[in-house]
Amino acid sequence: MRSDAAVRSPWILHFDTGSCNGCDLEVWALLTPRYDVERFGMVNKANPKHADVLLITGPVSLKAAPRLKALYEQTPEPKVVIACGDCASNGVPFYDCYNVCGGIDQVVPVDLYVPGCSCRPEAIMDAVVQGIELWRKKVSGQ
């Protein structure tokens, strides 16, 4: 039953927690003709209740942190969280800003980290493809 579910394509939820928009642009580039992540069966959906893969950008501002937590909790298990960009991974360009938590993993558990400021679409695509594998494994209970 669970492995049957893994046949379907995972859906993405993209959420910006205070990034500079650079990585968000690249996430959008990913969904459009040149990179076209849809060929791996991924579609961007704005509803966390339909999502399987969370693409999170930004260093998590203090105001966005509770919202990120809520989104994470609303997403059904199994789920994969991808932190896009340097600031999402460890908060680096914004390390001495007073209003950031510094990285997504300070708020919710992260499965994959994408390096780069801003991260290149190829790098996000690589993470997304790895994320699909990881998600399939999680679904089949391995």
Binding site: S61, L62, K63, A65, Y98, N99
Partner: protein, 113 residues
């Protein structure tokens, strides 16, 4: 008691044609007083009106002249912990954020800072 920026507000009101307001800025002078600067478009350049006010003084809001100034004043009020008449509520900061984050540490008395 008149607010320190009352005169500036009147001057802005009298201007004709109505200039495009660019920004309302506050800067800390590090001695318990602050600068208040109104910047607006003037021909091909910009012009500013300035005044200095003490910490704790209540300022006149110009949001009755320019609706857009409300958000600029909200931001200034939040960042420096200064007060504008009729402007309150959180704008950019959250309850969890530090209060008045852009206030600089005060100069120590008797030392050159």
């Amino acid at each position: 008691m008149t607010a320190p920026n009352e005169g500036m507000k009147n001057e802005l009101e009298r201007m004709s044609p109505r200039p495009r307001l660019i920004d309302v800025m506050v800067a800390d002078r590090r001695d318990g007083s602050f600068d208040l600067v109104y910047v607006f478009q003037d021909g091909h350049g910009i012009k500013d009106l300035r005044c200095v006010f003490q910490d704790g003084e209540e300022l006149e809001s110009i949001s009755s002249l320019y609706s857009g100034a409300l958000y600029m004043e909200k931001e200034a009020a939040e960042m420096f912990g200064v007060r504008f008449k009729g402007v309150d509520g959180l704008f950019l900061l959250d309850e969890a954020s530090p209060k008045a984050p852009l206030r600089l540490p005060r100069k120590e008395v008797g030392k050159d800072g």
